[in-house]
Structure formats: C-alpha cells, structure tokens
Subunit: 347 residues, 2 copies
DNA sequence: CGCTTTTTTATAAACGTTTTTATTTTAAAC
DNA sequence: GTTTAAAATAAAAACGTTTATAAAAAAGCG
C-alpha cells in the first residue's frame, strides 16, 4: 500500500504539504496542489485508516447495534441507515446481538441475556472509537441501552430509551391503530374485535389507545371484552379468533399480520368467509400479508423511513457539535394503511 | 480512555512489560504478570484499536460484502457468519452494496451498477486492512468479484466466482431438484411441469439437470415442453402455470416459492384444487410458503448452514497462513425437503 | 567468586497520519 | 534596496501500540 511519504517523494514536496492538500487546508499553492492531486489520483492513494483514526479525534464511523438482525423489520432499517450515512461519508459497523450460540440453554431471563451481550458490544464500539451509536431494538419496548454518562451521540430505534437522555425513534402506533379502526368503521363495522399483542408491550398499549380513540370519536361504546391478548404468534391469532367470533364481531383488527394469518386459519377451518362474513385487518405489512388469500389489508410500518429519519437525527447530532443529553426527543414515524381484499363494507 | 503508558505507571513497570503481559509473551515474571493483569482488570483497560491496527499486520476484522441485504436469504447468512467469526474472536464489518439511492434511474446494466459499487467497497475494506473478505451474492450466478492479484483470503457465497482462484459456497441445486422430482414421482406423478427461473441463471440450469436426472433414473421420458421459464416473480408463476395446465401436468415444480404462489393464484382463479387436482412444490422455504393455503411443500435452503460453512472456510484460511489461490474449492450445501400439504398421491 | 547463560525488564524505533511550530519564499510597502 | 507581512513549504512532535534491541538482574557452573 502506498503511503503519504511516497506521494511526497514523488511530488518532491514534504509530507505535510501533501496532507494539507488532501485535507483542503488553505495554505498550499495552486500549482503544488494540482501536482499533488494528480499524483494521488494516478496512484490511487488512500490514507491509512488506522493512522488517521489514531491521530484524529473523529473516526467517521457510527456503530449500529441490532438486537436481532433476523427480526421483522430490522434489515430494512439497517439498510436505510447505512445508505444515508454512507451518503454523508460515514462508515458503519454493524453488530448483531442475537448471536444464537451464546443465547441457548442459559437459565437467564431474556433481558439479562440481552444486557450481557449489549454491554460488551458497546465497549467494543467505544474501543474502536465510533462517533455515534444507533441501537435497533427487536421489538418496541422501554429499554435500558446506554449508561448515563455516555458522551457520544446515541439513539434507540424501534424502542424507547429508558433513560430520557437519549433520543428515540418509534412508530406512531396510536395514529396507526386509530386509522385502522376509523377505516373499519367507515366500512360500516361497529363491533370490532381486537387481537392484541403481549399485554405489557408498548405497541399493544398504544394501539389500544388509538383504537379506543377512534371508537370514541365515532360515538361507539368501547367494550373491553372485545380485546383479546395474544402473543404475536400465529397460534395465538387462531385461538383468540375463536373467542371473538363467539362474541359476534363483524371485523377483527389483529395487531400483526402473523396473528391475522392465525385468524385466517380459524375462519377457514370453520367455513367462515373472510371479508364476506368477517373482515380482517393486520399490522406490519409483513411480506406474507400479500400472499394470504384474500390478500390482507394491513398497516405498513415504514421501515425505510424509520431508518432514514434515524440516520438524519444521528447525522444532525454528529455534525453540530453534540452536547450530551441536550434536546432528547421522541420521533414518531407514521404508518400507512395498505388496503387489499380482506375488508368488505357491511349494511 | 486509559492507555498502556498509564497502566505501566500504575504498576511501576515499563510499557513493553505490560504489552508483553497482554499478548501472552513468555518473557515476563510471574509476579509482575499477576500485578499487571490485576490492574488491567481493575481499570477495564482495552488496547487502542487504531494503534494496534497500525502496528500489527493482522486486524482480526473480516469484511462482509452483501450484494443486497434485503434479498431473500442474505440476512440469515450474514447472521450466521457473524456469529461464527465472533466466536473465534474476529470482528466483522458489513457493507451493503444495494444502496437504493445509487441504483435508481441510472441507465447502466445491473452488472455495471454492481461493479461500480463493488470495487470501491473492496478498496474501502482493503484500506481498513481487513484480514479477509466474504462476498454474499444476491442470487446465484457466476460473478466477477475479486481481482486476480488479491492477496487476502476471499470467498464468494451464494454465487460462483468467475475467477477460479477463489473458493465458492453454493447450494446443491442438482441434488435439491433431484430430490424434489424423485419425491413427486414417488407420489405417483409422471407428468411434472417445471416453472424454471430466469434462463441463464445457475440455479435454473442446475435444477433442470437434477430434474432430468431424476426422470432418467425413473425411466420417464424427458419432455422439454414441460419446462417453462419464468423470472422468479409471482406474475411469471401465474403466467407459466396456464401453459403447464394446458399441457395436462399433474404436478408443478416451481423453482421458487414466490412463483409457486403465482401458480396458486392461477389455479385458484380457475377453480383447480391445489393438491387434490394438481400438486405444487416450491423452492427456498421462504417465510411465505407456510402461509399459503394449502401450505406449500418446498425445499429448504439451509441458510444458517451456508453461513456457518462459509465462516468455517474463511477461518481455516485465516488461521493456517493462507497462500493466495491455493486449493480453491466449491462447497455445495445440501437442501432439505420440507413436506407440507400441497402434494397429493395419485393413481 | 567471576564468568557465562538465561530470565526479566527497559529503551527506542517504527507504523502513517495530522497538527503545531519553524523556516523559507514571495509579495507588498516603504 | 531593505524591511515587513503574507503565503507557501518543511520539520518535528504526537497519537498508542508492538517489536527489536539493549540492559539489568538472576541463575548456573566450574
């Protein structure tokens, strides 16, 4: 690999002049600059990364910690963040926490396991002197990522930072559920069952609020029995649908597409026609939703937008000399209804 | 951040002694070693990454270049590779080539666009002095990744290196298609239509060979008209199914699950019962295959195994002083038939 | 005990940059 | 033509390690 010194020799100038040329310092003559640039171009010189990192304070690397790279939504978010940051001449280092080997057969709680993976990863990133860290949670919840004395820009995406010092980017679940419910009501449905997610989950809570608000705005009495709690799995969608059907709902709002698929399973098994007899909507716009029959109406989580917004926030912190804990914020990315075939108008 | 010098001062020894202790050199007294280790433990010292990288030849980083992180299969492969390498105390840096912004609306061929992204990425990785590079192709084909004078270990996964100097890891398509065809024959099918992928694709070619071999072994005459070429999309699956149905096939072998979903669309539309009237099998074991009704019998691409095998090969090259171009190899990972509900026995 | 050998520790150079400081050259002013 | 200021270039120090070399201490041996 060619070095600064060699470039300097080839140009017959000193290494500091070459360095100044590269870094766009003003104190280098026009003719010299041209010559140096020409040689650099010709030789394809690139500064040694480690030497540079050692000398400079900033490395122009941002660390991305993904809780689980294979979890729904994580990859598109990561992709978008990488794209944005690269566009601004930042590099990224990705760490995937969910290293299956480490996580198997230990007696610890998932939160303990997570922390025991997370903390070393943060140290790791700190030791390579990243300029910032973005943490992508596997599912939306309050999460304790960064210590209180963290000095570099750090945000948490798809989850809420326990420590309010850090900015979070999440989806607007209240509005999302509100939109879905309003849509169902606009199609004539008044008795709308809900297959919720896990009870203590942030998504679940916010979406229930959105659902309630829509009912309230339309002067429909809220019936808590119409809310059944699942656990995001297909099987739980199947089970809860049974209860909802028995209560005579005309539409089912499932809080993710996978449970909606479970609902399909039940309805199909019982010979109840989806859309014609009971309308179903999901949430996520998971790939599977377009392959269910009838194609599932759902609420798209705008993963690319989430990633781009996160990158924008990080960039903002990076460029405008960041002061720890200043102006933390919660950004909510709206979802978008995608209407397919699983909802029919009634009355 | 604490430094080697400070550790040395705290211990009252020289920095080289501390360095030797850390790196497990033999020439340090037992008592000194204990003391130094204790201080390091207590202070949580970590060597400066850049200083180390600058001094040492090896960085213990391997670069992963993903052609398209959001492409089917890429993420699980990446995950598995990361897990394996981290288990052996290697770091990874991931680069995603498919940066949407760069790829839109330019008049270039996809291969040109790819190369114009790939070459800078390789330079990038080289400039951070990675010890090895693994390239993960977006789909299986012969691909020109690495220049002939590449000096560090490099492999291509999910594709075949054009330059035979480099090791490739691919799936065993011949055997996969052979197994599927054999299975269909064992279920009584003798007139088996194929919805192939794109014509010039490696998957396509090898799977056709496997299909032919199975027919041959079972003494069934091969009819080239029974092979229809699609382009991996749902729409093409729909279209080609029409032709196949007209030719009176009793079973359809679709070369991916998405096209099989297209086949479902057609059959459903025409009132032809899947499984009962015509059997369908897919390929990939894409997430959607379990959500189609009836659930699709398909051939699972063992992504985790692919990743692990790739990591193993890379590790092997890394640890046993690699000599460029020596013993390149093509490793084929077998697929695994997953039997669901879309195939029925006939006769 | 003095000599050599081995073990342990210390010193200094090197890695390739950036940055601060110093020096030289050029231009401007008198 | 000399002095001064500005511009351009060069020299040197620093970043935090590792390693080669040197030095010191300890051990072995007649």
């Amino acid at each position: 690999m060619i070095t600064l010194k060699e470039i300097a020799q080839m140009c017959g100038v000193s290494i500091s002049t070459v360095s100044n040329t590269i870094n766009g310092k003003p104190n280098v003559g026009e003719e010299t600059r041209r010559k140096v640039l020409e040689v650099i171009e010709r030789t394809g010189y690139k500064p040694n990364y480690f030497a540079q990192g050692m000398r400079k304070q900033k490395t122009r690397i941002v660390g991305i910690i993904a809780e689980d790279l294979t979890a729904f939504g994580t990859t598109p978010i990561v992709s978008a963040i990488m794209a944005c940051l690269e566009g601004h001449n930042y590099r990224t280092v990705l760490i995937n926490l969910r290293i299956y080997d480490k996580w198997q057969d230990t007696g610890h709680s998932s939160e303990q396991k997570l922390q025991s993976s997370l903390q070393p990863s943060i140290k790791e990133l700190l030791s390579i002197k990243v300029d910032g860290i973005v943490y992508i949670a596997g599912h939306c919840r309050v999460i304790n990522c960064f210590p209180d004395d963290f000095r570099i820009p750090a945000i948490v995406v798809y989850g809420l930072s326990k420590n309010p010092r850090f900015t979070s980017v999440i989806i607007d679940d209240k509005k999302g559920a509100y939109d879905i419910t309003k849509y169902l009501i606009s199609m004539g449905h008044r008795r709308i069952g809900v297959i919720a997610g896990a009870v203590d989950n942030l998504h679940t809570m916010n979406r229930i609020i959105g659902y309630q608000q829509a009912l309230f705005d339309e002067k429909i009495l809220f019936n808590p029995d119409l809310i059944r709690y699942g656990d995001w799995t297909r099987a739980s969608g199947y089970n809860e649908t049974g209860h909802l059907v028995n209560m005579g709902v005309t539409a089912i709002f499932s809080m993710n597409d996978v449970m909606a698929a479970g609902a399909y399973d039940y309805l199909h098994e019982k010979g109840i026609r989806i859309a014609d007899d009971i309308s179903v909507v999901g949430y996520d716009n998971n790939e599977i939703s377009a392959y269910l029959r009838p194609a599932l109406t759902t609420n798209q989580i705008q993963l690319k937008e989430i990633g781009e917004e996160s990158a924008k926030i990080m960039l903002e912190m990076l460029e405008n000399n960041y002061t720890p804990g200043k102006n933390p914020d919660i950004t909510e990315i709206p979802c978008q209804l995608v209407i397919r075939e699983s909802v029919k108008r009634i009355n």
